[in-house]
Assembly symmetry: C2
Homo-oligomer: 192 residues x 2
């Protein structure tokens, strides 16, 4: 039927709640109410909260990496790739009533609440994204759409930091509009 897999619905609800309230701001009780099944049933699918967080991180990480890979592989200028990449983050902020953050950005803030396996997944996310941004920058350097930089890796780290931080700052004050302004400024600095 129209019913999505319960496990998926739980992860969806968890992701939404965490993106706006944080790991420790979301409880199994919240999930229960949000999904519409009892708390114990959530435990049936994800025995412990750490299990759930890890499953969530895994899903997010893979989905995100695939989406970005499609951008990296596409036949457009490096600058356009970078713009589309930034648009992914813009989408996150725009979605939902209150401003939401990158799941991984939020989890980094509360990284002390994760287990080793979770921390590793966060590191993997950062590593993968950095490499993918490097690929976009190199592509842009090759086609002339981005200004040549000595260290693409340092630029990539800067881009990721700016996007993660931009989500945070924008959600506290200026909203999507401010985030757009930050992104435009970033792209502009990398263009000349």
């Amino acid at each position: 039927m129209g019913t999505t897999d319960t496990k998926t619905r739980i992860l969806d609800a968890a992701q939404c709640l965490i993106q706006s309230r944080g790991i420790n701001g979301m409880s199994y009780q919240d999930l229960s109410e949000s999904v519409g099944i009892r708390k114990a049933s959530i435990h049936h699918h994800f025995p412990s909260k750490l299990d759930m967080l890890n499953a969530l991180l895994q899903r997010y990480q893979h989905e995100f990496a695939d989406t970005v890979d499609a951008i990296v592989q596409s036949k457009i200028t490096g600058k356009s790739k970078l713009k589309r990449y930034c648009a992914l983050f813009q989408g996150t902020l725009a979605t939902g009533e209150d401003g939401k953050t990158c799941l991984c950005g939020m989890m980094i803030a509360e990284i002390a609440s994760l287990d080793d396996s979770g921390v590793q997944k966060i590191r993997q996310f950062v590593r993968t994204n950095t490499q993918q941004i490097v690929a976009m920058i190199e592509s842009g350097m090759a086609d002339g759409s981005l200004a040549t930089q000595k260290s693409p890796k340092a630029v990539a780290e800067l881009v990721l930091a700016t996007l993660e931080g931009g989500l945070m700052v924008a959600r506290s004050s200026g909203g999507p509009q401010q985030f757009d302004s930050i992104v435009n400024q970033l792209i502009s600095l990398l263009t000349r």
Copy 2:
């Protein structure tokens, strides 16, 4: 002399705990153990947790603004001011065993756990910092140490976002070294 005010010691402990674990990762019990007085005594100084968070935000905001003002007023190039400003954030990350974040950055992540008064203080922090960065940039444009930009405000927002995000990203993976690299790249982009 040797004894610091208890209220101050509580705020110090709270700030340290929040910077590494987050608002919801710190309890009055944690504070009790950290400060060395009973939990009820913490309530004597700060009746509710929200009271404490607001007091903490107020203190942090004023201290930080004063420190930055001293930098803005100093007789050095705009670029040097910006470097010193970034160094404030670098100091935060280096302090403490585990990587700590900007108090406000952490609180933005968990902004849903604050009351209206707290949210306003966060907004004030962002606004003040942005204005102060604008002042540094304009100073740098005037003395030629920074490249002229159309919109100093947009650049300032980018700088703040990069620093806040840089703290997050660096604490998950590369540590102070990675943060330094990001800062250098940022300054470099604003120089040419």
